[in-house]
Symmetry: C2
Subunit: 311 residues, 2 copies
């Protein structure tokens, strides 16, 4: 059997992402030893029952000791505290990465604790599922998905290449960009859509004139398209909103401005304005079918594997 | 071969809905003769090339003469003019129906022209596809879908039952409700989601900080869920917005109010408020999996055929 990519990998946090990583690491033999740590005794027990790793501990320090790769998969608001805790025992030459949906905030929290000689390379695998917890994970979660890395200045090229290799073997394509651009991009492609979806589903739930049963019954008429996002992990998303606040507030302001203008066009019967907007958005939808790099989460679009761009 | 349900059916308008009706009428032998009429010479020619019916004319009067069932499938804003035109030649005892996405406005436009002895029963098959035109239609469009009928006071029960039979043989389940309730219900399950989707996709298109290519590339992170709706027919939707204006403006006002409150919670770091909302919406999403009557448009949910409720 060939040598694993890392002798030991530590997974800090074992939710949807962490447990999917555990599964793909085993399947692809990316780590000779998988150490799992999480603060929740219940989740840790569940991870052990599911046989996701080789050892299990509530002590993050124990798990990361001697690991060549440490992957922090905790809500973004908790990433600073985790690194503060594990920093003293991180192995020299280890790669420390994360999977958080926001990058500037995570870097601000983590970077100051990272010891000399440890390669801190922030990352974000773009996966989309509404499930959460160690039972929800699966080894294929990262297949045909983008993983965005936001390496800091002066990052060791060999460490970066090794982390790219890890993600490629998980099935992902890799892009690199700076953290600010990541956060702005994700605000529009992911955070705003989730917030809008949460908002419309919450609002519908409050209606008196139309019953919940009717909304569910007729949801194929459009409403249902929003409910997948509105079913996302309620523990993770408040954190994402607060940790990418500036970019999200900017997107929300633009969205509301445009919506007010659309609302005015409806009130004043400006059909031409509506037609112009609706024609333009249709063109965008159609362009999506042709662009390379679209990785479908449903059957709605044709699968096209995006080109892997090496950093 | 058994007798068709109607000797002659006239289809006024031959877009997605009209052409799908033509196909299912042929397949199920619901009409012995299918007359097709549309104002656009090009569309009429296309319908003929596709062999969708038995005769083709730009003169609506010619098409509806002698028909036992007349189905008006034109943009909702055009429904009054159509009925004004065909009223003089409608056969006594004929059923006149429509497929418009709004009901109060369509009734206000059509009812005053309907001659004595003609059964006007407004209808709305809830189908969801972003395609339009006679080429886009298919016989299965109505299968496992709801068709809502909004019969007026004093509607002949036999005529209503015959129209129900027609829609059931197209594969649909039938619900009846009053037109105002239809319009309020559709405003939340269909019209608001489309408007929101149009708005977010249009807004994304205007961004300077993130390129269109990036939005397309990373759209699986949430954005893509909106693009199907934003790709809907740009001719039909301005009409829907303007013809269900009151209900839509009410829903938009509520939506914006809630969004402003959510935005404020993000600005002021109120994670608990976000958590409460996100938890509530997740519960709604989960309830959707268990309710009867959900008719999926994608593979995201399990198909459950709703019970057919007779009026």
């Amino acid at each position: 059997m060939s040598k694993p990519l890392f002798e030991k990998i530590a997974l800090v946090g074992i939710g949807l992402i962490g447990s999917s990583l555990a599964r793909v690491i085993s399947r692809e033999r990316l780590g000779g030893h998988i150490a799992i740590t999480t603060r929740s005794a219940e989740t840790l027990k569940r991870a052990e029952d599911l046989k996701l790793g080789d050892d299990y501990t509530a002590e993050a320090k124990e798990a990361v000791r001697g690991a060549g790769l440490v992957i922090v998969s905790v809500p973004v608001g908790a990433s600073g505290a985790v690194v503060e805790e594990i920093a003293p025992v991180l192995k020299k030459g280890a790669i420390l990465t994360d999977v958080g949906s926001t990058k500037a905030s995570v870097i601000a929290q983590m970077q100051r604790f990272v010891p000399e000689g440890v390669h801190f390379i922030p990352g974000h695998p773009l996966t989309g599922t509404e499930m959460s917890g160690p039972d929800a994970g699966f080894a294929e979660l990262f297949e045909n998905r983008w993983c965005i890395l936001t390496p800091l200045e002066g990052t060791d090229p060999a460490a970066l290449e090794k982390l790219c290799q890890f993600w490629r073997r998980c099935g992902s394509s890799i892009d690199t960009m700076d953290p600010q651009h990541h956060d702005m991009t994700l605000a529009i492609v992911s955070h705003l859509p989730h917030i809008i979806a949460y908002n419309i589903v919450g609002m519908a739930d409050d209606l008196e004139a139309v019953t919940k049963c009717e909304i569910v019954k007729y949801s194929a008429s459009g409403f249902r398209d929003f409910t997948r996002l509105a079913g996302s992990d309620p523990t993770m998303w408040p954190d994402v909103c607060l940790h990418n606040r500036e970019a999200i507030l900017e997107m929300l302001a633009r969205f509301s401005e445009d919506l007010a203008s659309l609302q005015r066009a409806i009130r004043w019967g400006e059909g031409d304005k509506l037609f112009d907007l609706f024609t333009r958005t249709r063109a965008i939808r159609r362009s999506m079918g042709q662009e390379p790099g679209i990785q479908p989460s449903s059957g709605a679009l044709t699968a096209v594997q995006g080109p892997t761009r090496l950093p």
